[in-house]
């Protein structure tokens, strides 16, 4: 009888200890997820702010790109080059 009580007590304590360890581990994982989520959001907003059209346009202007002044359309299917026989 005494042995049974001791065994049950040991099982109970082991179980509780495992639960406590799992709680701590779960908290750590949650904190890690939150940290990664936070870093992802920071990275995303950094990427977005660098790829906005206003930023791209001003960078392009700094690098010497210009808007085309005019465009040429071919009205007819004219031959561009003819082979002389």
């Amino acid at each position: 009888m005494l042995l049974l009580i001791v065994v049950l007590e040991v099982i109970y304590l082991t179980h509780n200890s495992m639960l406590a360890s799992e709680s701590v581990r779960a908290e750590e994982i949650k904190a890690e997820i939150a940290k990664l989520d936070e870093q992802n959001k920071i990275l995303k907003s950094e990427v977005l702010s660098r790829s906005s059209l206003g930023v791209v346009a001003s960078r392009a202007a700094e690098m010497g790109f210009e808007k085309p002044k005019e465009f040429i359309s071919l009205k007819k299917n004219n031959s561009i080059a003819l082979k002389h026989e």
């Binding site: 639960l19 406590a20 907003s45």
Partner: protein, 561 residues
């Protein structure tokens, strides 16, 4: 009888135990059934911690999936003055990073408090603060709305403020119209704790939060950028008070861009005057002036009352009506002008001729058919409908002035939607901005284009289209063309009614049109509010229209047909 053998003491004992048992049962019933809810609440209070799980607001995306509106994190930064020993040095160190003067930081830290707010900063600033290694500084993550393209399409987006309970609330534009979809639903996390206050990992209950739905819009980021830039340049160049550009796909009603100026920064909406928030492209009523002539002419052609070559027999001189004299805009008259020439010359007397052919009943009917006096149903908060007068309220002079776009109020989106019916074979489409809604669980809701009704026959719209092409190529804006792409269009110069009369020096200059005329892919309206350099649409709105059109031809690779 068997019980005769039991002694009275034994019976008393049995009855006593029975009574006790019944009492205990009753007590258990009382606590576990009658007061069960109350006990549960007390237990929850003592052993359960509940946390509110805030949903993330859905994103609003351009049609290339780049966010117009998304969420960003910032850090609420605070300090505990009770554990700061050297406040002057502390304030001095912080002032270099926060950008405040050290005296104001010092004043805050000298308060007899355990928690002092220092401000809300982005992660770069937070990292700098952390590098100072100061005691008693803490950070709390805050989510805020972020608009990567800053004030681009500001009127179209709206903004996110707070409601009367301090919760995020979308106002105006897409943020306002789709607020219920975007905001999501808060959840709750219940953590049961043991006697020592540690969470019991196997006993965590959660009411799941539902993040807001995201919206994929029809708005093209590049087209919106082109429109924003052209409008800003145009408004400044012509010394105007403001303006609007709407660009639409006439066959479907997809809005590709909607720009208004002056604009605001939706992230710092509180720094602007409230009047700037309203989107004039959908909420401002104005007299359309000559741009309206194409609709009246289209109606008369549709009814078979005039043809492109029908000649006007009242166009030789000003028209007298009900004590009023109706003149042309430049006081030049064109006897026997054809209907094509009436539109080309933007001839008011010619339009009176058309209006009289149409009559009050049909004029009223077509205005309703073209969608005036009712909201277009565009998915933006803040749309105005305007009002049409009832048929019985029309006077002959109203018929005459309405035929050239005076005495009737419309919104820019109404006018463009109506003119688009000439481009698409006669259908009045419902303009729209959101084509897909993404649910939290990955489901997608697709929104299809809608035709509201057929207003014009294909033949009538085709005739009207080429009358408008002629107006561009031979009319008052012929100096701005898109050769070799055929553009159908019409200028408008509407005087603004001020205190019961028209002010000749204050106008709303406009140009409405579509291209390429053979198979229109783009319809566009440009409005310039009170330009100073010239009051005419042909010299202000038309150049802006063609500047944008030229960029769009290149962007979409539109070829002449």
């Amino acid at each position: 009888m068997r019980y005769k053998n039991f002694s009275p003491r034994f019976l008393v004992l049995i009855l006593g135990l029975l009574a006790l048992y019944t009492f205990l049962l009753g007590k258990l019933f009382y606590w576990q059934v009658v007061r069960a809810q109350e006990i549960k609440e007390i237990r929850d209070l003592q052993s359960t911690e509940s946390l509110e799980l805030l949903p993330e607001r859905g994103e609003i995306l351009f049609n290339d999936n780049f966010p117009i509106a998304t969420n960003n994190i910032n850090y609420l930064t605070y300090a505990n003055p009770k554990i700061i020993t050297d406040i002057p040095k502390y304030s001095n160190d912080l002032s270099g990073v926060l950008g405040y003067d050290s005296a104001s930081i010092s004043a805050r830290l000298n308060q007899d408090l355990y928690w002092v707010r220092l401000g809300v900063f982005d992660y770069k600033r937070k990292e700098k603060i952390e590098k100072l290694n100061l005691d008693g500084i803490g950070f709390q993550i805050e989510t805020s709305r972020y608009y990567p393209e800053a004030s681009m399409a500001a009127h179209l987006i709206g903004f996110v403020g707070k409601d009367d309970q301090g919760q995020d609330q979308g106002y105006l534009g897409l943020e306002g119209y789709y607020n219920m979809q975007l905001k999501g639903k808060a959840g709750k996390l219940y953590v049961v704790k043991d006697a020592l206050g540690n969470p019991i990992v196997t006993d965590i209950r959660e009411e799941k939060k539902v993040d807001g739905r995201s919206l994929l819009t029809t708005v093209d980021r590049t087209v919106q950028y082109i429109a924003d830039e052209a409008l800003k340049t145009g408004v400044e160049k012509y010394g105007a008070e403001g303006g609007s550009i709407i660009i639409m796909e006439p066959s479907t009603g997809k809005v590709l861009a909607m720009s208004s100026f002056p604009k605001f920064d939706p992230q710092k909406y509180y720094e602007y005057d409230g009047d700037v928030y309203q989107n004039p492209a959908i909420s401002k009523l104005y007299e359309p002036g000559s741009t309206f002539k194409v609709l009246v002419m289209a109606a008369a052609i549709n009814e078979g009352l005039v043809k492109a070559d029908t000649r006007c027999d009242i166009c030789a001189a000003p028209v007298q009506m009900s004590g009023f004299t109706i003149k042309t805009w430049n006081n030049e008259y064109h006897p026997n002008a054809t209907m094509t020439e009436v539109i080309q010359n933007s001839d008011n007397t010619g339009m009176v001729f058309v209006g009289q052919k149409l009559g009050i009943a049909k004029m009223n009917d077509y205005m309703e058919q073209f969608g005036f006096g009712e909201k277009t149903g565009i998915d933006l908060q803040g749309e105005a409908s305007g009002a049409l007068r009832r048929e019985s309220e029309w006077l002959p002079i109203d018929l005459a002035t309405s035929s050239f776009g005076q005495g009737i109020s419309v919104t820019p989106i109404q006018l463009l939607t109506a003119v688009s019916s000439i481009a698409n074979g006669g259908y009045l489409v419902k303009p729209y901005l959101v084509e897909k809604i993404f649910e939290d669980d990955g489901e997608e809701i697709e929104i299809e284009p809608k035709n509201k009704r057929k207003v014009l026959s294909s033949a009538a719209s085709e005739v009207m289209k080429w009358i408008m092409v002629n107006a561009v190529e031979a009319g008052d804006s012929k100096w701005v063309t898109l050769d070799p792409i055929a553009v159908a269009g019409k200028t408008g110069t509407a005087q603004i009614p001020v205190e019961g009369r028209y002010d000749p020096n204050q106008t709303i200059a406009s140009f409405v049109g579509f291209f390429p005329a053979q198979n229109p892919k783009i319809s566009m309206l440009v409005l310039v509010n009170r330009p100073k350099t010239s009051i005419y649409g042909s010299e202000t709105a038309a150049p802006i229209f063609f500047s944008v059109a030229r960029d769009l031809v290149q962007y979409y690779g539109i070829q002449p047909e």
